[in-house]
Symmetry: C2
């Protein structure tokens, strides 16, 4: 069988429907004005796929199996990778984003086809037209793992990935609802996965003894019955996503502060190189890579979601975050349903980066591989895909809301999601250098004021003298009154000179953060007020002092 | 209906079958020579009970409802408690152990009757005799929450409480197995629990929005769909059971170091008072209570298992252990199936204490209530139980292995489970006082040697001079050679005098522990060896120095 990957069919004159943020989508589907139709179709389609024979290429097991275990080939192709696991999927190489782009499109297309099957077989005639319409505009939702959960300042797994039971429609007159086991919560098999070709993954975990995907449920020294369905300890995943620095290896992690900062760094470049962006691959002798890249961020999410410590840490370590799970092992990661939501976001980040680095494509070290075949995936012409086929993702009949925008608006969105409102950065301002480690608040030496979440600060402040913050590409401005502070400073220092202005950017963990120099500007402005000032020019603020980034120890 | 609580029926000449440690029982049932019969019967009986109408007094819901919500009365009785929740169950009072003793016997009896129903209705004739025999000797197993999981030095929830699916028998020829949803993992309802009379518990959690019991799954600020079946984040419970001191309130927790130490302290007394032992109740003006008591230990287990922080801690706190669950709320705790395993152990600890404090019963402040009615429970004569009816627990046709032993052997067991091998206490020995905070190892000032896990140390050491450890009631002895250490010490100090001997007891977290003075003795012994020593008396060790507990800062 040669399965042709085309994306979900659409008329050529229609715009590509968008892939949505999974929490936004879920909240819209289940909210007061939501009709739950797409939710029902997605859930029922996944149930159909998960119930198909594991030897069926288009079963959930068959599709997930392309990524690694059980290494049994797919669509008539056997793997041409000569790695020990002989898996098709590409990691640590420049086709990492493009191979997975096609993989997601395949999954999306098979889900759509299962939706159609469900509608034709199980939905009463009077509902079929509406359901087909919803299926046609449905696209795989993405988990924006660097965006705080709605109304919180915390990163979390998607709602739909953490609920064991999901409420969906029973179509009829009237429409009622039912609760079903949620196929996005976990994937369960009838047989031991070992009997389906899933091998022991050694240090990563005894996945052959599982009958269900698990998050942090494989624990060395636990009775083996616990492993079979180790359960979904998803609070541990949430903890890891927010507190991952405990695992920091200084040689690898330098500058990798929070997930939001990492994604912001990844996307803020322009004129970047595909070789640097796309993969963790490092060719000896080539230029130093950027300090982060797509695949590196992606790898960490895998680890934090699944759990990557099957063996218990030494007695002196704390128990915190001990445990293994499917997402942390390349060979079995795709069996956990959250894999698809995760990789959909990886594709979205790729698309965003492409829009901002329009002319960048396989270049330098990566130039040679844009014609490499993305085995085992066949395009609409029956040929194996190459990366060039999917440079334009809309050829696969989907898009993202953000990539429909122009560059300026994309940069605004990025800042909103990952740098400004999304992340509680705080700028602390000092007249004179602060102390090296004490740069947090009122009690710190030379402290003047803080700006917290730029945009809201603008709304709330009655401006006098000024601070201006600038982010590359976009500007967000806040102004704080400094008259009294300057006066006090001059009194204390017995001087008439303007104070030296310093600032420290502090992240949500109270650590100082170094953004690039152009990202932030903190300056002191003066205006002449009161009697004897007549010229309109004198009523304008004039920059009096250029602020500088303070030197702090951490 | 008046349901008479008699315990599981047995012939008067038979000994009472024992309630077993739940992990031991599960491992025996599922091990190579286990027949899984009792496991199958227990699971099937619970499924029957959980499927009964919630208005049936003998349904799982009906039995759990006696403890708190939905406050609808039971067995024809309405509550006589005038608390705001009008629940029957006794907390913060001296009948706490006896009320719950009858409650466990009731549950055990109803499970047995459901086993019988299952056997008669569903088991093929050729297996019925064997199954009835197993049901008759089955008793409710207990979760020994202060005992380390087998082969570990960590406290854990029982295996059977952490596996979503359980493998049980299908009786026939031959016997095969099947996997079923494990009724001890969680209790799930068809309706929202709010529709079954479970109210919002405010700070403790929105239990009315649940359809399943949860552990650490109720999280303020999470989408409400997550609450309905918040899942079983049981790794958080395990973490809390082992690392609870982070929650320590110094005014309450003084001396409460680990669960094992607490249980050891609870049981090591003799001639104790029921008033002190039984409850957290404190009558103003009465004598100072012992520093721990049964109900206090019990309360903490409830909190740690369920999760007791529905509202998120302040931003500066770590996320660690945030979350609420049924076990932490008196009103709904009994719905989590682990409740019964927990309270079975509370009953066992009571029975052990009774054996060791044979003449102690309701006394002092508690004397007046031994005739109070334990509503709504009726005894075999159709009267409401009073505490005196259950002073002898074997009248309810069950016993525990440990309480069949004599006092000396019970004390040995307690020490083994909770003080010696169970807990990795370490005794560090010094010639001269150690430094206040540095008392851990070779690098510490004046360090001589460590004794780790007394009994194994005895086996491994080639004895020379001696150390003797003594626990109240039992003795465990280890001997370490000190000849060279004494010689070095005398050389260094330029003295011929015997060294001063000090010791520090260190627990598994590296903290110094103060056991009572009689618990440990560390002394230095001498023997005269070599030529010129003829008298047999000279070949005996003689105590040279009395060791003392060192003064350390923590
Ligand atoms: Cu991958
Ligand atoms: Cu209780």
């Amino acid at each position: 069988m040669t399965y042709l990957i085309t994306g979900i069919p659409k008329d050529t004159n229609e715009e590509s429907p968008i892939r949505q943020d999974v929490d936004d989508w879920y909240l819209e589907q289940t909210g007061p004005s939501g009709n739950r139709i797409q939710l029902t179709l997605f859930v029922e389609a996944l149930i159909i796929m998960q119930n198909r024979s594991t030897t069926d290429d288009l079963s959930y097991f068959g599709l997930a199996g392309i990524h690694g275990a059980p290494w049994s080939g797919w669509g008539g192709q056997t793997s041409d990778h000569q790695t020990k696991d002989e898996n098709f999927c590409v990691h640590n190489d420049y086709t990492f984003p493009t191979w997975h782009r096609v993989y997601m499109a395949l999954f999306e297309q098979v889900v759509y086809e299962a939706m159609t099957e469900f509608i034709n077989d199980k939905v009463p005639t009077e509902w079929q037209t509406e359901c087909h319409k919803e299926a046609k505009t449905w696209r795989l939702p993405y988990w924006d793992f660097a965006r705080f959960a709605r109304g919180t300042n915390e990163i979390r797994l998607p709602i739909i990935a953490t609920i064991p039971m999901v409420t969906i429609n029973v179509f009829g007159s009237p429409v009622s609802t039912q609760r079903k086991s949620n196929p996005l919560y976990k994937f369960q098999t009838e047989s031991l996965m070992g009997d389906l070709g899933i091998r022991d993954q050694g240090e990563e975990g005894p996945f052959h003894k599982c009958r269900s995907t698990t998050r942090y449920g494989l624990l060395d020294g636990y009775n083996e019955d616990v492993w079979a369905d180790g359960g979904q300890n998803w609070l541990r995943a949430n903890l890891a996503l927010n507190e991952h620095p405990w695992n920091r290896d200084p040689t690898v992690w330098e500058g990798f502060r929070t997930l939001q900062e990492a994604v912001f760094q990844l996307l803020k470049t322009s004129g970047g190189s595909w070789s640097s962006f796309s993969s963790t691959k490092y060719k000896e002798g080539s230029e130093q890579k950027g300090y982060t890249n797509l695949e590196f961020i992606h790898n960490n999410i895998h680890n934090w979601v699944g759990g990557f410590l099957f063996r218990r840490p030494t007695a002196s370590s704390r128990l915190k975050l001990w445990g293994g799970g499917h997402m942390a092992s390349v060979s079995v990661a795709a069996f956990d349903p959250i894999f698809w939501l995760h990789h959909c976001n990886i594709d979205r980040l790729t698309a965003i980066w492409q829009k901002l680095n329009n002319s960048s494509w396989f270049d330098g070290d990566s130039e040679g591989v844009h014609h490499s075949q993305l085995t085992p995936f066949h395009n609409r012409n029956g040929n194996l895909f190459v990366s060039d086929d999917v440079r334009n993702w809309t050829d696969l009949n989907y898009d993202y809301a953000i990539t429909k925008k122009d560059e300026k608006d994309i940069r605004d969105d990025i800042a909103t999601l990952y740098a400004l409102e999304g992340s509680p950065f705080q700028i602390n301002i000092f007249f004179g250098q602060p102390d090296g480690k004490d740069f947090h608040d009122l009690g710190s030496r030379n402290f003047v004021a803080s700006v917290f979440n730029f945009s809201s600060a603008i709304k709330n402040s009655n401006c006098g003298n000024c601070i201006e913050q600038k982010k590359r590409g976009i500007y967000s401005e806040a102004q704080l009154p400094a008259t009294l502070a300057v006066w006090s400073h001059q009194e204390l220092e017995k001087t008439n000179k303007e104070p030296e202005v310093f600032y420290v950017v502090v992240n949500s963990r109270g650590e100082s953060v170094t953004l690039d120099d152009e990202a932030i500007t903190v300056d002191l402005y003066r205006i002449n007020e009161g009697r004897g000032v007549d010229s309109p020019e004198d009523h304008r603020y004039k920059k009096a002092v250029n602020g500088r980034r303070a030197t702090v120890d951490y």
